[in-house]
Every structure is written in structure tokens, then in C-alpha cells.
Symmetry: C2
Subunit: 224 residues, 2 copies
Amino acid sequence: MSANIGALAVGDGKGKSERTRDALLAAGIRLFSEQGYDATSTRQVEALAGVQRNLMTYHFGGKEDFWKACMVALNGRMGALLEPVFDQSKDIEPRERVRFLIRRYVRASAAVPEVARILFDEGRSSGWRLEWLVDNYIRSFFDTIAQVFKEGRQSNAIPDIPLINFYYFLAASGAMFSMSAEFKLLTGKDAFEDAMVDAQANAIADLLTAHTHTTVKAADAAND
Amino acid sequence: MSANIGALAVGDGKGKSERTRDALLAAGIRLFSEQGYDATSTRQVEALAGVQRNLMTYHFGGKEDFWKACMVALNGRMGALLEPVFDQSKDIEPRERVRFLIRRYVRASAAVPEVARILFDEGRSSGWRLEWLVDNYIRSFFDTIAQVFKEGRQSNAIPDIPLINFYYFLAASGAMFSMSAEFKLLTGKDAFEDAMVDAQANAIADLLTAHTHTTVKAADAAND
DNA sequence: TATAAATTTTGACAAGCGACAAATTACTGT
DNA sequence: ACAGTAATTTGTCGCTTGTCAAAATTTATA
């Protein structure tokens, strides 16, 4: 792990106080997403940010509020990538529009893998962090996906599977980037390479917009 | 959290020492999978197991070796579900065989959600735990999936996507069960209900054995 | 039953944790 | 330059962490 993330996270035209806050947020996002909340200590965050001990408490009030601030900042990164997408897609015909949205979402998941890491992490057990995430971000994201799904079904662009399964399939499409360390050990390649990201985006779009065979259900039952 | 997991994990015909070990392993699997390695303390495991402090160190030597023992036990649970599957499927015709294997794998992921939780957790950043998992289990699992994929492609049962992406879809198909707490908050339902597990198994099988349109690639490029 | 081994229990330690308080330095507006 | 405030720095607190050590107890063997 690099000794100091401050220099990377710093904007030049900002005051020292704001630079401290930004460095802390960048370090917090990285450590919370890599290690989880409980396993990340305030001293560790401050060390990675290259700032003095106790500055997190001063600027953010405490570990809990700091985590929420990290989530807001992280949502900002993701939102900046996803917000223009709906506008860009509004003139595309239904089937290609769904594929376009899916590909852009997968690319955003690769560009900001911290989001998927934290969702996989916090979604496992209930608590105040999961409740906060659901209330502030996850619920509205699910509603957005539900709208895309509805339109995709009406135009027959999306196969006949339940919304819930469609949602979790899409949400899990970031697993390849979330598990980038395993990916490297297993394949020897970098999951964030452009060609790899495109391959994943295309594959997800292919699978989620393919027509399914309608004759297999009976055969399934015979083997169960 | 229940105060004591020992009574559940105990076999009756076993000696006290073995019962202590089993209770510790059951508690360890649960806590490591829910909270991760660093966030789980030895005292917490011992308390959930309903045994005295320091018995983990005595029976397993230390936290690291105890974690490995938990992984071995967890692999045993998963293996017991997956081992008979290949034998059962060897007379099914290729396309239905792939669907059968996928559905059984998804159901096993639901029956033992701890596996997916730990893989999502440890796959994020490199270290001795990820290396150990890859060397002992993940690599051979990947090879098995690669073999299924190869046969599935030859019989045209699996759509034309790269192996790596196929593998990570399948691995990520357990995300719905791994994130069961989020699932409950988001949908109000229990992800482990039989009907829900079957729906996911069928949906994954449908998506991974559907034929894709071959005419969309050019249209994709037009929007990028 | 006597003896040794295995297992359980209790005690203690250095190190790290989040948080609070106070002292010091840097910045702001007048 | 000055006062007032913001920001940084240092010190400390009670608590938990993983681990080692030793005493007490239970189990196995002769």
C-alpha cells in the first residue's frame, strides 16, 4: 500500500482544510471498500491520507459520520458517470437503448468498483449502515432499474425473468471488478483493462437482452 | 444474534473436545462470512460457540489456522451438495445437462451462502487468505467450470461469450443470497424461500443457456 | 485406583482501538 | 498589528484485540 494518498487526491486551488477533507475521503473510500467498516481504523485512514491523527474526528465528527460522508462522495463519483446516460439514450430504439444502458452501467461499475465492493459487504448483514444505504441510495436505484426493466419487457428487449432476479443479476455484474484481486490471481490479467471491461459490458448486455428458449421448462422439471 | 450456537452444532455421540471444535467451527464460519476476518475476534467466536475463552487457540493454534480450518469445513458443506451432481447428470443430453448443473449450483449457493460471502470478501484485496483460497479451492473450481463451459459451447448450449465472463456470472449468481439482508430490506421477502431459490436458479439457467442475437454488435458500436 | 495426558479455566501482557481534551499553530477580518 | 476563530498537533483515557503462561479440571490408560 502506498504511504500517502494525499498528493493524488489534492486539488491545487483549494485551501488546506479542504485538501485535508478530500484526502481523508479518498482514503476512507478506498479502505472502507477494501477492508470493510469494522476492519478499518481511523488511524489507518489518517495515515493513508497523509494527515495527522485525530483530524478525521475533527472534520467529520466521528467514524460513523465520516463513513456517511464517504458514501456521499462515492455516490457522487458514480452519479457523475450515470447521470448523463439517460439523456444520451432517450432517442435510441427500445432494444438498443436497454443494451446501451446496461453497457454504460457495467462500465461505471468498473470505473468505480468501490460501490459494488461496499454493497456486497454491507448487504450481508443488517445494521445501521445497510439501512442508511437502502434509505439513501439503494431503494431509488432499484426503482430506476425497475423502470428500465418494465420498458424492456414491454418491448420484449429483456427476457421473461422476474424483476428481482434481473436486478440482482445486474447488480452482481460488478463482481468481476469487485473481485479484481482474485481475478488477477486466477487469470493473470487486469480486470480494469479497457478490452476486459468492454468484454464484460458486452457479455452482460448479450445475456440480459437475449431471447430465451420457451421449450425448456418441461425438460427442466423432468430432471428435478 | 443468538447467544449460543453450540447446542445446534453439537452431535450427540461425540466427545466433549470434538463438540467444542465443531461449535467453534460453526461459529467461525458464520462470523467470518458475515463480518470478515479482521472484524471477527476470537472472543466473539468463542462466545457464539458457547465455549470458554482461549479454547480456539488451544484447539486450532491461533486465528489464522482456525480460519483455514473453517474454510476446510465450509468446503465440505459445499462439496457434499455438489459432488453427486456430476454423476447424476452424466446421462442428460448436453443442453439440459448444462441447465441442470447451473440450477444445482445456484441452489447450493443458496444452501451455503457463506461461500459466496467469503469469496466476495476475500477476492477484493490480495493477501495470504486469498492466495490460500485460490491455491486450495478456487483454481480447481474454475477449471471445473471451464470444462462445463467448453462442452456447453461445443453443443451450443451456452451463448458465445468469453469463458471468463461466463465464470464470473455464475460466481456472482450467489449475490442474491449473499446479500440476503439487503434483499429483505429491499423486497420484504426471504431470499432463501424455496420459491425464490428456484426462481433464481431458473433465471440464471435461462440467461446462461439462451441464444443471443447475432445482429446487434454493429448497432452497439453505433451508440458508443 | 493411580498416573499421565488431554482439556478446560483463569490470569496477564503489549498493542491497537475510538473518542475526548487541551495546547499549539495558521488563518481571517478589522 | 491585532483579536478571534479555524485548523492542526499532542496527550491521554477506558476498552478490546490476539496470544502466551500457568493453574485447575476432566479424561484416558495401566
